[in-house]
Symmetry: C2
Subunit: 137 residues, 2 copies
DNA sequence: TAGTAAGTGCAATGGAAGTGCATTTGTTAT
DNA sequence: ATAACAAATGCACTTCCATTGCACTTACTA
């Protein structure tokens, strides 16, 4: 079990107080968060710092970006077994039309998609929308 | 073979010069277009008009909206057999990472996606990214 | 411990989406 | 045909999120 510090160092990211806090925040959340969510959680910190921290995490494949169709980009920690690189998230996401939360369904792999001749598939973005487990209960 | 006028009338949309032009523009294009694309094509017309025209078309299920992950919403004509309603496009889309164009793969249906217990799937957004036929040639 | 590279905060910009209101155009009933 | 009404269009403006430039501070390194 790596500490967060070790994780960051292993990816050549300098350990700072801010980054640890943001990492912990993301880890605590089970769902994908927007930049505003982070901003609200750390009202004292500047928006730019949060933005750039997330971008750094993204580059170093600590978080992945999710476009769930709300028009606002969300972010979630890459899981242990998450082999998404910068451009590819290989699992699917679920967006709840009720509570507006987006969840990573890490262990649900995206089925192989056939594309027409001449098209080369590099990666796939798949968002399922509906009602999540908390809201359907 | 319906004329465009007949098509619009059948959906209770008033036929105007602008709407005919925009429809023809969409029909000529094989790929999904952004509002800016339309704006550039009709420089004399006001952006608001184009915006509201597209929104009208969308409501009346003449075009469908596509979120291809670029952050900019695109629009494409619903095909003859396209049974997408306002909220659901049932086919998948291909986004070319090279030319940045998004194509409807109308005859490629989205496979059934399994979601965990408690989750209710209402619709699915699936965008395949890669290299399109024009760019891979 | 000085010097440098990276991180942070403030201010400002840009792009796309959306809205209010006045004006014009089209439709309908007399 | 034309008056009266409804819908469409154009202009101006606003909002929201994403992004960048620059100054300042903090952290690593020789």
């Amino acid at each position: 079990m790596k500490t967060i510090e070790q994780l960051l160092e292993s990816k050549n990211i300098r350990v700072t107080a801010m980054r640890l806090l943001i990492y912990k925040f993301l880890a605590k959340k089970k769902v994908a968060v927007t930049l505003s969510d982070i901003e609200n959680a750390f009202a004292k910190a500047d928006r730019t710092t949060l933005y750039r921290t997330i971008k750094t995490f993204e580059e170093k494949v600590i978080v992945h970006q999710i476009d769930d169709g709300t028009g606002i980009t969300k972010y979630a920690l890459c899981e242990e077994g998450c082999n998404c690189d910068i451009k590819n998230d290989l699992h699917l996401h679920f967006h709840c039309n009720n509570c507006n939360e987006t969840t990573c369904l890490t262990d649900h792999k995206i089925p192989q998609i056939k594309v027409p001749d001449g098209f080369v598939s590099e990666n796939v973005n798949l968002v399922v929308k509906g009602i999540c487990d908390k809201c359907s209960g």
